[in-house]
């Protein structure tokens, strides 16, 4: 806790300046004060938590889930087949330098306002870190250890489960820690593009109604989801990689 003292001071100062600034500017639809936002969250708690939150959570869960399944399958296939690796890996890396997300509006044409247009955006944004980090994890399995396994007569299956999977886990978790906050962003961006409900949608909705605090309130909830999910992954990582505890 003591380590974060300065950070806490910094954030307090920031909130204080924001509050003072907002009161000074006094046009809450442009710059709502933190206190106002907090009150708005309280006021809208039922609406936010019971109506919009579950919808956004569903997008995050389904999107992240599909990314995980596809990413792990693809990474494993590339790990097994050198040909697949040579075909897919460069495409994957190059795909990162191009803004596929800019195609998001057309997904709405394909999938309408259903959950799938948002899920696709979330998948696009989270698929890469998961796949590449898992694959890099497999590759990180030391060549020397692989040879040791061979000299002990290990089967391909044993090599995979006893060496490559444990070797890949740290890198996999790093990827997951990147992907989880991204999935929150992906769901929010997806909801801008076509939705009837959800926290990202609600925030934009509030904007057309000159309700500044209402714009921020769902974003605060989204942030809390982000922090919560991230923390869960960190805890899971600590639990599974307990050998890394110094």
């Amino acid at each position: 806790m003591k380590n974060y003292l300065y950070s806490i001071i910094l954030i307090t100062i920031f909130l204080f300046i924001w509050e003072a600034g907002a009161r000074f500017v006094d046009t809450s639809f442009i710059l709502p004060a933190p206190a106002e936002i907090a009150m708005k969250i309280w006021e809208l708690k039922a609406e936010l938590l019971l109506h919009h939150l579950p919808i956004t959570l569903a997008v995050i869960a389904i999107g992240l889930g599909i990314s995980l399944v596809l990413g792990i399958i693809l990474a494993t296939s590339m790990n097994i087949s050198k040909t697949l690796e040579q075909a897919i890996y460069p495409v994957l890396i190059t795909s990162q330098t191009i803004p596929i997300i800019a195609l998001a509006p057309i997904f709405v044409l394909w999938f309408g306002y259903s959950i799938w247009s948002k899920v696709i955006v979330t998948i696009i944004i989270t698929f890469f870190p998961i796949t590449v980090s898992t694959f890099d994890g497999f590759r990180s399995a030391s060549k020397e250890l692989k040879e040791l396994f061979q000299t002990l007569g290990a089967s391909k299956r044993q090599l995979f489960f006893k060496l490559e999977v444990p070797s890949a886990l740290p890198s996999f978790f790093s990827g997951l820690k990147v992907a989880v906050p991204m999935s929150v962003i992906g769901s929010a961006i997806g909801e801008w593009l076509g939705a009837q409900a959800g926290l990202g949608y609600f925030s934009r909705r509030m904007m057309t109604q000159f309700n500044g605090a209402g714009v921020f309130a769902p974003i605060v909830v989204l942030s809390l989801i982000g922090i919560l999910l991230f923390t869960s992954v960190v805890l899971l990582e600590k639990f599974i990689l307990k050998w890394r505890r110094s």
Partner: protein
Amino acid sequence: MNGEQNKKLALQFKNVDFHYRNAAGEIPILKNMNLSVADGGFVSIIGASGSGKSTIFRLIVGLEERTGGSIYLNEKQVADRPGKVGYMPQQDLLMPWRTVLQNAALPLELQKENHLDRGTVQNLLEAFGLKGYEDKYPHELSGGMRQRVSFLRATLSGSNVLLLDEPFSALDAMTKLFMQEWLLEQWEQQQSTILFITHDISEALFLSDRIFVITETPFTTLKEIEVPLERPRRQHDLDKKEVAELKNNLLEQFRMRV
């Protein structure tokens, strides 16, 4: 003509050929090479860097495929060699996510035909000075202890032949001396055959019955040297005149090559 002739052979190379292949073409390492190691012996291989010491081991364990000749293990030519010898590589190569016990017991997990049981492992853990450390992770151990876990793992492969590739090169000079004595002790108890690669002439002299010297690459035979020392040995036995002379001869031979 000497006593060893009557002993069984633990390892034998007969006319073995081997070359690496790279962009520039073939790099021959072994040419029609012959070598034999008697059961229960402690044999060191010394040679300059890149002369092909590790290659010999890789051929024995089957990580490289010979291009000609045959290799016999315990007087049988084994087709599928993996799993048939205990191999302790240069680095300790412990898996950081496994405890000491889990690391050491790896061969038991991987080899169906491995008949050692957990009881034996427990006994050996004690013999190797690892009692009480079973559930520690490798990063919690000192360098010397890690080497002992690695050695225990090689032992547990259940083979009578152990290949050790520069196992002590990463240790500091004093820990190294301690580990050498410890290794001899274990070897005398286990009754196994040890092939030991090293750069360190004193180390080779202190540990081995015989030393194979690689003088050129590719090689056909290895120069063989008998170490004129009785067992058990102590470090100061190396100061005996004939051993000291032997050592200085070897040193002179390598001086030109470094």
